[in-house]
């Protein structure tokens, strides 16, 4: 009985990847517990529910053959785009941003769907170019990417827009966009920086300025970053111990169970803890890159590669922002921060990786 259940649950599950994921989320739940004051289990219970849902999604996606996923790419992308347009016209305004769409029975954040849909769509597009991708194909791929990114940036939700832009760019990059074009884009991007600066909202500009000089406004814009670096730095090598971080437990860290949870982690577990977390991420990413390298179709390769690199982007942007080397953008620490939506899209991504990893042999045979 137990054996049968185990067989069911482990069906098409990549063992090493699953083990590393489990270790990471367990660590995350422990830190969420600490970040919630260590007194109430409500939030941890909520996070466990989120984990259950996310792992269910992972399991389901792992069962789906990449071939089917590829067929779903276009409809999901078009549907997501429709929802984004819906947000632009009928979206709910919350905290000055239009990110949510109420369908009466459920409130959706369509940009989250696009985190998966965009890399799938682009991978599908390149997969179809059997003769190999030409420059024209890259241009079309760029347009397919630019539309959702533009819509999301307008909401405004710069953090998500950048992550989706990154995920799409990873597909294009891995599909073999020529270095000349990449260099050209780099130059053009650098040249348009002043223009982009002008397009930013005041609060976004403020975040960049704050990164450069947090002490300019220590109780306002600079507060988050000052307190989080104090927390991490004061943790030292071994940390202050679980539930013993003073910055965390005495409310000095804002958003400490969501975007700034790394500060709690760093304060309570020290450099040893942050190094272990980085190591876990390296293992996950390494496994993801191996799956991508060994995938059998263009679609599978590009999808697996993009998902892995996007995951890295999440981790890097969050850790960079909390430790004060990147501007503050609303990106959670993957699999550690409290919150269901981000967890769902990340574990869904790993589900797809597992599907690619475990269905490979069947295609080859």
């Amino acid at each position: 009985m137990i054996g049968r259940a185990f067989e069911l649950f482990s069906r098409r599950i990549d063992g090493p990847l699953m083990a590393t994921l489990a270790l990471t989320v367990a660590l995350g739940a422990a830190v969420v517990y600490s970040a919630s004051g260590g007194a109430s289990v409500d939030r941890v219970a909520g996070q466990l529910r989120n984990l259950a849902v996310a792992f269910a999604a992972l399991w389901v996606l792992a069962q789906i053959h990449p071939q089917l996923l590829m067929r779903l790419a276009l409809p999901v992308y078009v549907g997501g785009l429709a929802l984004l347009l819906g947000v632009a016209f009928f979206g709910e305004l919350r905290n000055g941003a239009r990110r949510w769409l109420s369908l009466g029975f459920i409130t959706l954040q369509p940009s989250e769907i696009m985190k998966i849909a965009v890399p799938l769509m682009l991978a599908w597009y390149f997969h179809r170019q059997e003769q190999g991708a030409r420059l024209r194909d890259f241009a079309i791929a760029a347009i397919l990417l630019a539309i959702p990114v533009g819509l999301i940036a307008r909401q405004p939700d710069l953090g998500t827009a950048i992550l989706i832009l990154a995920s799409g760019f990873f597909v294009i990059f891995l599909a073999g966009l020529s270095w000349k074009v990449i260099a050209g884009l780099g130059v053009a991007g650098a040249a348009s920086l002043p223009f982009l600066w002008g397009m930013l909202h005041d609060y976004q500009r403020q975040r960049v300025m704050t990164l450069l000089d947090p002490m300019e406004d220590p109780l306002g814009a600079g507060y988050h970053i000052i307190q989080s670096t104090i927390a991490i730095g004061s943790g030292g090598i071994l940390g202050k111990g679980w539930l013993n971080g003073t910055q965390a437990q005495l409310d000095f860290l804002p958003e400490r169970h969501t975007d700034f949870i790394l500060a709690v982690f760093g304060e309570e577990f020290g450099l040893v803890g942050t190094a272990i977390l980085v190591l876990l991420y390296v293992l996950l990413i390494g496994r993801g890159l191996m799956i991508a390298a060994n995938a059998s179709t263009v679609f599978a390769r590009l999808t697996a590669g993009a998902i892995t690199l996007t995951f890295f982007t999440y981790a890097f942007v969050n850790m960079g922002m909390v430790s004060g080397i990147l501007p503050v953008v609303g990106v959670p620490l993957p699999m550690v921060s409290y919150g269901g939506t981000a967890l769902l899209s990340i574990l869904a991504g790993f589900g797809i990786l597992m599907s690619i990893s475990t269905h490979k042999q069947l295609v080859q045979s």
Binding site: I230, L250, I325
Partner: protein, 628 residues
């Protein structure tokens, strides 16, 4: 061919893909390398710096304010005490819309219009991040009601604090003074005295009187508590504590019961009285009427009360005993008589025939005696008993202004007495040099004439007159009046008496002293100007009445108190000591616009003596009569 091409393309695509994946992998490792380097920088290299910052975040050193010392009268009656009460305080910078918040608060805990006015005034005087009381003395029920609604009022806090109270109200208010909230001038003084640390957490400081002068004794030493706080500033737990040291209790020289009798004796008159032990200079009563209720000042006076006190024509905030400078009038005569004897300008036997006025040789201007028809033949004794002006006009001219100045200065005229509370003025003992310095004018003999009867440029405070009288009473040893009798250490309860300072005796020949004393006893005896004051006393009072003009009279004008507006009536003065043979109490008093010294001032002195010497309280009080 086509298939081969496709395969080659696929092969090429795979090679490119793997190469790029490899490159990405290297970049990822580099990225994590940067992060690890950053964490190492923060957590190893800079760890101590950030640890210090984190500790500074969580540890707050909270001052523990010492209890202020009590003020007791010489018999242990409480003049200033502390009580603990709840206050509701607000930090304005933490509240977005203060007016609305206060309106809402009013639904929970009543905030009266007076509270609001008082708060507005406090707010104007203080910085935005200071915690200011909006309501004081909350009841237990109000505290509970607020606690339930606390979440609605960020920035508001209930605090248990010690408050100062003055149980005697207006009684002795000018001597006790009051404490008030520390203002900018106080902060500067605290900084100058290097006491900033000791005043952390202290909101109040002595402003006037004993409270002001003995601030250091009363305040005590502030303790401290290291407290772990959260980001909202709420204390989570205490880490360590050093206890404060309470301020010392002060025993003052005042006799509360005597003070009450003296104040009551003034009835509705304005004026001042200083009574002291002539042997020690201990001030037993210090009256300045009207007084004020010092309790009003403790937590910031509201503008209405403040305006009332400040704009009242009676000037209740003015300490007349120390700061009122009045012409001493005829009360100066005993001292002038001593000067004349000392300088051999008069003998006891020398007599004049008083026609009712005096004129300088070769001049027609008449300096009039208060008695139009004159006193007839007057010697030194009689000059004091009947207060003959003509005698002293001539005497002053014979002495000359500088001799008068020098002699009176030995009694302390023209200099502060050194009473141990602040604000004292020094009066004026005029001299040629003084007039030159002040007006760049030479002294005329005409200026000297009215000095003889304590008018003209001469001014004295009631405190000075009392000290001079005490010196006269004790046989010529200048006294240094003081209000502090003893200090009680708050911890050991050990009482340390304050040693009085005695001055160098003024040389008064005993026979001269005896002469003047007996004349002053004559003042309160049949035939004297204050006969009623001495009537059936059962002890002897040596006194001297005085009247100080408020407005000048023309040559042919007759003074008629009933026809003058009250504020233009003369001030009434009286100096006295008793018992005359062995003086135990010396005093000077002044009744503003009281008319004559004998009618209003002397009866007040009698009530004070009766109580002090006989323990007798006045029965049905006769109205004071300015015209008798």
């Amino acid at each position: 061919m086509m298939l081969g091409q496709a395969l080659r393309d696929q092969q090429r695509e795979l090679t490119v893909f793997r190469a790029r994946l490899m490159l990405a992998g290297l970049l990822i490792l580099a990225g994590f390398g940067v992060l690890i380097a950053r964490f190492t920088w923060l957590q190893v290299v800079q760890r101590d710096h950030f640890y210090t910052l984190a500790e500074a975040n969580r540890i707050s050193v909270v001052p523990v304010v010492p209890n202020r010392g009590l003020i007791l009268d010489r018999n242990g009656q409480v003049l200033a005490a502390n009580y603990s009460a709840y206050t509701l305080e607000v930090t304005p910078s933490k509240v977005a819309d203060l007016d609305r918040a206060i309106d809402e608060l009013d639904q929970v805990v009543e905030v009266s219009p007076r509270d609001r006015r008082r708060f507005k005034r406090l707010q104007e005087e203080s910085k935005n991040f200071e915690s200011l009381p909006i309501r004081t003395r909350l009841t237990e029920e109000e505290v509970a009601r607020f606690a339930v609604n606390r979440y609605r009022f960020p920035g508001f806090e209930i605090k248990a604090r010690l408050f100062r109270s003055y149980p005697q109200g207006e009684v002795a208010s000018h001597a006790i003074g009051y404490i008030g909230r520390i203002n900018e001038a106080d902060v500067k003084r605290i900084e100058a005295a290097n006491l900033t640390t000791n005043y952390k957490g202290t909101d109040h400081i002595g402003k006037l009187g004993i409270e002001g002068a003995y601030e250091r004794e009363l305040h005590g030493v502030t303790g401290s508590e290291r407290v772990e706080i959260d980001a909202g500033g709420r204390a989570i737990r205490a880490l360590s504590r050093s206890e404060p040291l309470s301020g010392n209790n002060l025993v003052v020289t005042l006799d509360l019961e005597l003070q009450k009798v003296a104040e009551a004796a003034f009835q509705d008159y304005r004026g001042a009285l200083v009574a002291m032990d002539p042997r020690t200079g201990e001030v037993l009563a210090l009256v300045s009427k009207p007084g004020f209720d010092p309790n009003l000042f403790v937590d910031g006076i509201d503008p209405q009360n403040w305006d009332a006190l400040n704009s009242s024509p009676a000037r209740p905030l003015n300490n007349r005993a120390l700061r009122g400078q009045y012409p001493p009038g005829s009360t100066i005569k005993p001292f002038m008589a001593l000067a004349a004897l000392e300088y051999r300008k008069r003998t006891p036997e020398f007599s004049i025939s008083d026609p009712g006025f005096y004129s300088l040789p070769g001049m027609t201007h008449r300096y009039r005696d208060w008695k139009k028809e004159g006193h007839g033949v007057v010697n030194l004794h009689r000059s004091i008993v009947v207060s003959c002006d003509t005698y002293y006009y001539q005497l002053a001219v014979d002495l000359g202004i500088d001799a008068i100045h020098d002699y009176l200065a030995r009694f302390g005229l023209g200099a502060k007495t050194g009473i141990d509370i602040e604000g004292e003025l020094s009066g004026i003992a005029p001299s040629q040099a003084w007039k030159w310095n002040r007006f760049r004018q030479r002294w005329y003999t005409g200026d000297t004439v009215s000095i003889g009867i304590g008018q003209g440029y001469m001014l004295a405070t009631p405190m000075q007159l009392a000290a001079m009288t005490a010196t006269l009473a004790n046989g010529g040893t200048p006294v240094h009046p003081r209000l502090l009798k003893a200090v009680q250490n708050a911890k050991t309860l050990e009482v340390t008496p304050v040693e009085g300072v005695r001055g160098e005796p003024v040389a008064i020949k005993p026979e001269h002293l005896e002469l003047v004393r007996s004349a002053m006893v004559g003042v309160t005896s049949p035939g004297g100007t204050a006969v009623k004051a001495g009537l059936d006393a059962g002890y002897t009072i040596a006194g001297k009445t005085g009247t100080a003009q408020v407005i000048g009279m023309k040559q042919d004008q007759k003074y008629d108190a009933s026809k003058l507006r009250e504020e233009h009536r003369d001030h009434a003065l009286f100096i006295a000591f008793a018992p005359a043979e062995d003086p135990r109490l010396a005093m000077a008093l002044l009744v503003e616009n009281g008319g004559s010294g004998s009618g209003t001032a002397a009866p007040i002195a009698r009530e004070v003596f009766d109580f002090y010497l006989l323990g007798k309280r006045p029965r049905a009080r006769q109205p004071l009569d300015p015209e008798s």
